[in-house]
C-alpha cells in the first residue's frame, strides 16, 4: 500500500513556502519589563529554527535580579494603574490587543512556525486565530466579573507569575495573559526557552496597544528563571503549563505560601473507537489526535483504544492515511508534520520509542523522507501495546501512537482510566447514548466525542488527577484569577 501511495502523483506538490519577508526581526531581544525592552543580566542564548538549526535571534536571559525587577514593575502597575482602571477600560485594552493580533496574524504565524517548527497551516489556522479569539473573549468579561459565578465583587489576586511551554507558545501566552488581565491582575510571564520569539513580537503589540507600562512583563530564560519567578515572594498567583514533574515541584515550592496555583500538566489520553463509529471520521480524528502539532500536545490522543473486531481495519486505514502525510518545511503550506521542537525532545521521543520496541510492541513508521538538517521524527504507530508498556503509560509528547484493544465498553473505560493522568479523552461512536454513558465514566477534564483536539476560549480546559488543577477558558477560567468576596450561605 505504501508503495502505491508513494508512486501516485497526487501527493507530488511543488514547494509552497510562506515568505519570511513579513517578519521584522531584531538581531537580539531584551527582556520586556515595565513597557520597554531592557538588557538581561544572565547569559544570552540563541533561539534556533528546529527545521534548519539556524539561529533566528539572540535572546536575553533573565537573572534572579531581572525577575525581581519584573515583579516590582508588575506590582507597581497593579497598585498604581491597573487596579484603578474600570473593568470597561481593562476590557478595551484587551479588545485592542485582540485586534492587533488579527492585524499581525500572518507575521505571528510565520514567526511561530519558524521558531517552533509547527506547520504553517496550524499556526495560521489554529494557533493565531485562537490567540485573537482568546483576547476578544476575555475582553468582554473584564466589566462583567460579577457574573463569573464567584459572588458579587470578586477581587483580583495581584501579580500573576506565569510559565508556559513550547508547544503552543503564543496560544499558551494568550490562555494565561487574557484572563489574568480581564480579572484585573498584572503579569510576569516566562515563555519557554526554545520558543520565545512570538512572545517578543507580542510585546511590540502591547506597545502598539499602549497597554500601561508594567501590566504585562515578558521575561525570557530557562528553568531557573521560571523557578525564581514562581518562588518570588511578591507574586500572588502562579499559573503553569508544562510537565507533571515540574508541576509537582511547583506545588511543593508554593505550599504554605497562600499563592493561588493552577497547573495544566501532562496527559496520556485514550482515544476510544467503538465498532459502531464512523470509521472514516474516526481515522481522521485519530490522526488529528496524535499527529497534530507533531504530537507535542498535552491532551494528545496518544493511546488508541480500538474495539477488537475493527482493529485490523482501523490500523490498516490509519497506516494508509499516515502514508499520505507530508513531513518537512514547517513554513510550507502543504506540510502536515513539521519539525520536532528541540534536539532534547527528539532524543526523548527516540528513547521512548526504542523502549516501546524492546518491550515487545510492533513498530510501524510512515515511509517519508527526512530532511538532512533539523529535528524530525516520522509518524509512528506501535501496535499490540500492553497496558503495562512504558509507551502506554508515559507521555511521549511526539508523533507516536500506541494501539490497544478492548472488547466491552467497561473494558474501554477501565483501560482509559488506568493512568495517573486525566486531561482528555476521545470517544468515537454513532450511538449518542453510549457516548454520554462512557463520557460520564471517564476521569478526564476534556472529552471529545466524534472529534478531537478542539479548543475554544469559551470552553474550560484542564485536568483531573495528576494532569493538574484549575481550568483555563470559559467562565471557569476566570476563577483561576479571582478571589471570591464571600459566597456563604444566606440565612
Amino acid at each position: 500500500m505504501t508503495e502505491i501511495v508513494k508512486k501516485s502523483s497526487f501527493l507530488d506538490y511543488a514547494p509552497a513556502p510562506e515568505s519570511t519577508s513579513i517578519l521584522h526581526l531584531q538581531k537580539s531581544y531584551g527582556l520586556f519589563i515595565d513597557g520597554s525592552f531592557v538588557k538581561g543580566h544572565g547569559k544570552a542564548f540563541q533561539t534556533i529554527s528546529p527545521a534548519t538549526e539556524k539561529t533566528i535571534a539572540e535572546i536575553a536571559n533573565a537573572s534572579a535580579k531581572d525577575v525581581d525587577t519584573a515583579v516590582a514593575a508588575a506590582r507597581r502597575a497593579y497598585d498604581r494603574t491597573w487596579s484603578k482602571l474600570s473593568g470597561a477600560d481593562r476590557g478595551k485594552y484587551l479588545f485592542r490587543i485582540a485586534r492587533l493580533v488579527q492585524e499581525r496574524a500572518r507575521e505571528l504565524a510565520v514567526a511561530e512556525s519558524l521558531d517552533n517548527g509547527k506547520p504553517i497551516k496550524e499556526s495560521r489556522d489554529v494557533d493565531v486565530p485562537l490567540v485573537a479569539a482568546w483576547f476578544f473573549y476575555y475582553a468582554g468579561w473584564a466589566d462583567k466579573l460579577d457574573y463569573a459565578g464567584l459572588g458579587p465583587n470578586p477581587r483580583a489576586l495581584g501579580v500573576a507569575a506565569q510559565v508556559i511551554p513550547w508547544n503552543f507558545p503564543l496560544l499558551m501566552l494568550a490562555w494565561k495573559v487574557a484572563p489574568a488581565l480581564a480579572a484585573g491582575n498584572t503579569v510576569v510571564i516566562k515563555p519557554a526557552e526554545t520558543t520565545p520569539l512570538s512572545a517578543l513580537i507580542f510585546a511590540e503589540i502591547l506597545q502598539q496597544a499602549e497597554l500601561p507600562d508594567g501590566v504585562v512583563n515578558i521575561i525570557t530564560g530557562a528553568g531557573d528563571t521560571g523557578q525564581a519567578l514562581v518562588n518570588h515572594p511578591d507574586v500572588n498567583k502562579v499559573a503553569f503549563t508544562g510537565s507533571t514533574a515540574v508541576g509537582r515541584a511547583i506545588a511543593k515550592s508554593v505550599a504554605g505560601t497562600g499563592k493561588k496555583v493552577t497547573l495544566e500538566l501532562g496527559g496520556k489520553a485514550a482515544n476510544i473507537v467503538f465498532d459502531d463509529a464512523p470509521i472514516d471520521q474516526a481515522v481522521e480524528g485519530i490522526v488529528n489526535g496524535i499527529f497534530f502539532n507533531q504530537g507535542h500536545v498535552c491532551c494528545a490522543g496518544s493511546r488508541l483504544l480500538v474495539q477488537e473486531n475493527i482493529h485490523d481495519e482501523v490500523v490498516d486505514r490509519l497506516k494508509t492515511r499516515l502514508s499520505t502525510l507530508r513531513l518537512g518545511d514547517p513554513l510550507d503550506k502543504n506540510t502536515d508534520i513539521g519539525a520536532i521542537n528541540s534536539r532534547e525532545q527528539l532524543d526523548r521521543i527516540r528513547e521512548l520509542s526504542d523502549i516501546g520496541e524492546k518491550e515487545g510492541a510492533d513498530r510501524w513508521t510512515a515511509d517519508c523522507v527526512i530532511p538532512d538538517k533539523g529535528f524530525w521524527f516520522a509518524p509512528t504507530i506501535f501496535d499490540n501495546v500492553s497496558t503495562s508498556s512504558t509507551i502506554a503509560r508515559e507521555e511521549v509528547f511526539g508523533p507516536v501512537l500506541s494501539v490497544l484493544t478492548f472488547r466491552t465498553p467497561a473494558e474501554a473505560i477501565a483501560k482509559a482510566n488506568n493512568t495517573p493522568y486525566g486531561l482528555s479523552a476521545g470517544i468515537w461512536s454513532d450511538k449518542g447514548s453510549k457516548i454520554l454513558a462512557v463520557a460520564d465514566q471517564l476521569r478526564a477534564g476534556v472529552i471529545w466525542a466524534n472529534t478531537f483536539n478542539r479548543f475554544d476560549p469559551a470552553s474550560p480546559f484542564g485536568g483531573y488527577k495528576e494532569s493538574g488543577y484549575g481550568r483555563e477558558g470559559g467562565r471557569h477560567g476566570l476563577a483561576a484569577y479571582l478571589e471570591s468576596a464571600g459566597w456563604s450561605a444566606s440565612k
Binding site: R454, R475, W487
Partner: protein
C-alpha cells in the same frame, strides 16, 4: 415495672472507629483517654493507626463508584435523612457536648441545631450545584459543549480541632460528600465522641458504608499518611492549624492532590466548599450538518 433502686448503674458505650460502615476497634489495639472539660474520664477512644487510615482509604475508594453514581436527588435525600435522625437525638448530642466541651445548655443546643441546619442546607444543594457550577459553552463551531462539575474522589479531612466538635465535623464532611466524594476524616482529638456518635447517625441514615469513614486519635500521627496516600485525591486541612500543615501540603503535592488550607473554627456553609472538591468535565460533541 417499677424501679425501686435509687440509682441505676449506667451502661457506658464503647467508642470505636467507623470504617466501611462498620465499627472496628483500632487494629493496633490502642486507645486513649477522653476527658471532660473538667478533667473527668469520659471514655477510651480508639487511637487510630496508619493501618486504620489505609483501611479507611480502601473503604472510601470502594464506596466511591456507588455514591458518586447516585443521583443528586438521592444524595440530597440521604443528607436530609441525616438531619432528620440528628434532630431526633438532639438531647443526647447536646448533653454530650456539655460534658466534652464544657458548654452551657443553650450553647450546646445551638451547636447541635446549627449542625442539623447545615445538613439541611447542603442536602438542598445536591441536585443544584451542578447547574450553578456548570454551564453550556457557546463555542465557535458546530459542537454541543457542556461543562459539569464531578466529585474529585476520595477526600482526606482533618476536622476542626478547637471547639465545636460536632459542628466542625459536619461543616467539612457535608460539603464533600454531597457532591459525591467519599471521605476519610480525622475527628477532633480532644473531643472525638461527637464524631463517633455522629457515625451512628450516619450508619442508620442510608449513607452507604465507606462514604464517610471516621478516625479518632492523633491527627499529627495519621494526617501525614493520608496526605501522602496515592489513592487519596484531595486533602482538606481545615483543622490542621496546629500541625505542620505546610509539610502535609508538600507531601500531598507528590500526587498533585487538591488541598484546602487550615481555617479557624467550623467553616460556614458555602458553595465554595462544595466546588472545592469537584472537577469540571467538559464534553464536546459534534453536531451534524443538516
Amino acid at each position: 415495672m417499677e424501679c425501686k433502686q435509687v440509682t441505676r448503674l449506667a451502661v457506658p458505650k464503647t467508642y470505636k472507629l467507623y470504617i466501611g460502615g462498620k465499627f472496628p476497634r483500632s487494629e493496633s489495639g490502642r486507645t486513649y483517654e477522653v476527658l471532660s472539660k473538667k478533667g473527668a474520664f469520659l471514655a477510651n477512644a480508639a487511637l487510630a493507626s496508619r493501618k486504620d487510615a489505609r483501611d479507611a482509604v480502601v473503604a472510601a475508594r470502594a464506596a466511591l463508584a456507588g455514591w458518586s453514581g447516585a443521583t443528586g436527588y438521592n444524595r440530597g435525600q440521604v443528607l436530609y435523612r441525616i438531619a432528620e435522625l440528628l434532630e431526633g437525638r438532639r438531647e443526647q448530642f447536646a448533653e454530650e457536648l456539655i460534658s466534652s466541651e464544657g458548654l452551657t445548655k443553650a450553647a450546646a443546643a445551638k451547636q447541635v441545631d446549627t449542625a442539623i441546619d447545615a445538613w439541611v442546607w447542603y442536602a438542598g444543594w445536591a441536585d443544584k450545584y451542578v447547574q450553578v457550577a456548570g454551564n453550556g459553552n457557546p463555542v465557535s463551531g458546530p459542537y454541543f459543549n457542556l461543562s459539569t462539575p464531578e466529585p474529585t474522589g476520595v477526600v482526606a479531612i482533618v476536622a476542626p480541632q478547637s471547639g465545636e466538635s460536632l459542628l466542625g465535623l459536619v461543616a467539612v464532611v457535608a460539603p464533600a460528600i454531597l457532591a459525591g466524594n467519599t471521605v476519610v476524616v480525622v475527628a477532633s482529638e480532644s473531643a472525638p465522641l461527637a464524631a463517633i456518635n455522629l457515625s451512628e447517625v450516619l450508619a442508620t441514615s442510608d449513607v452507604p458504608g465507606g462514604v464517610v469513614n471516621i478516625l479518632t486519635g492523633s491527627p499529627k500521627e495519621i494526617a501525614p499518611w493520608l496526605a501522602g496516600h496515592a489513592d487519596v485525591n484531595a486533602l482538606d486541612l481545615a483543622g490542621a492549624e496546629g500541625l505542620d500543615w505546610v509539610y502535609l501540603q508538600v507531601i500531598a503535592a507528590d500526587t498533585l492532590k487538591r488541598v484546602l488550607p487550615p481555617v479557624t473554627g467550623a467553616p460556614a456553609p458555602s458553595l465554595e466548599r462544595i466546588v472545592a472538591f469537584t472537577e469540571t468535565k467538559t464534553v464536546w460533541h459534534t453536531k451534524s450538518l443538516i
